[in-house]
């Protein structure tokens, strides 16, 4: 059985972090499995976890009373899901539903925030990685806003 440290070391998201930093982060992590159709979290709930997907697909959804539940984005193997754990008020803004059965590493947000506060070097390294993902998602969302494939 692979340790969580070793699992994290293989993930591009954590590339560049040294072993002590990975061990520290792994101290906040556990392996989880979520069945297809189940929710990782729902809009409005306390955001106390973030997920690194090892297998399967998660849909980020928003409920629209007029049109049901819309999929705004999906995350697949190697993607991280959730950053509301990082900034107040620590509430989820979307639903996250497992489209398929998933395996993930789940990080306790309170634990991780504590370690970032205690060791700002690790906090900064982690923040850079989360920001990188946020930037990519923001850029993708902006390009999608252009509706390039829509009617000219």
């Amino acid at each position: 059985m692979q340790t969580i440290d070793a699992l994290l070391a293989e993930q591009p998201f954590f590339a560049g972090l040294d072993a002590p930093a990975l061990a520290l982060i792994a101290g906040c992590a556990r392996n989880v499995h979520v069945g297809a159709g189940e929710h990782l979290f729902r809009e409005g709930e306390a955001a106390d976890t973030f997920y690194l997907l090892r297998r399967g697909r998660v849909a980020l959804e928003v409920h629209d009373p007029r049109g049901g539940t819309l999929v705004v984005d999906t995350a697949d193997e190697g993607d991280v899901v959730g950053w509301s754990w990082l900034v107040p008020p620590y509430r989820w803004l979307f639903d996250a539903r497992a489209v398929t059965g998933i395996s993930a590493v789940a990080f306790d947000g309170v634990c991780l925030r504590g370690k970032c506060d205690d060791d700002p070097t690790i906090g900064y390294a982690l923040m850079q990685r989360v920001t990188h993902v946020m930037l990519q998602r923001l850029q993708a969302a902006r390009i999608r806003l252009l509706n390039l494939y829509g009617r000219p």
Binding site: R57, A59, G67, G68, T69, L70, V71, V72, D73, T74, D76, E77, G78, V99, T100, Q136, A140, I143, R144, L146, N147, L148, Y149, G150, R151, P152
Partner: protein, 303 residues
Amino acid sequence: MTAPTGAQLTGAHLAGAPSTGTQLAGAMPTPVDPMRSRPFRVLAHHQDTDDTVTLRLEPADGVPLRFEAGQYTMLGALGIGEVPISISGDPHAPQLLQHTIRDVGGVTHALVHARPGALLDVRGPYGAGWSALDGAGGDVVLVAGGIGLAPLRPALLDVIAHRERFGRVVVLYGTRSPADVLFTGELEAWRAADVEVAVTVDYGPPGYAGRVGLVTALIPRAGFDPGRTLALVCGPEVMMRFAAAALVARGVAADRVRLSMERNMKCGVGLCGHCQLRELFICVDGPVLTYARIESLMQVRQL
């Protein structure tokens, strides 16, 4: 017809021959007068999506229109006008001319409503194609956005016809919604030919189980070896710019990334200048060009 002196074209262009010099499976273009149209009869009309139609046409004179994957024709509706449309058919079956057309203006509106039996005017084929066989011995990744899958289809069929000469073959296809996916009946056949096909949409309806997101997000994770990959990209220009940048970031050389540029082709033979992109005439130098060649031009506003 001979090449006018001083014009930015060669006899090879006028004959519709591939300017890349690459031979594609005996599909040498038919030598015809490049400015003269021929009537083609609509054999079949297939509604792909709510605004896109695939027409299958046969030459009224019985002479097949041989073409290279990536080439286009000037397709005309009698009395209305003609527009450049990429060929979406199989380069190994030139007896059937296939065009996938989106209803976006006056001429295309007439074209998508052409019913079986109708006659359309065809000039061409024109332009430089994908030359996908240049990727033999390595991997090929095709990145398509929206209707951009149509001009890539002949290249994919070309690759599939020589499948054993390639490593991994990957299609990354982004489109607006699941209802806008083109060639839905063929995706499984491509997969059966050992092609990885990943589809992502901008808008996922309730309960959608597929990928939602931008096609560029598929590039970092797709299974190809960037150092030995030929990438073919077709879609809206903004999408191609981001896709090409993502391919280069992944490690694909800029001269191994080919884009199909869309400009207002009019004559098709490098005379009129409607499609000029600084020193390039997209109608004959393109539509397929390497990213290395046009990256700087794509950065110039209003060019």
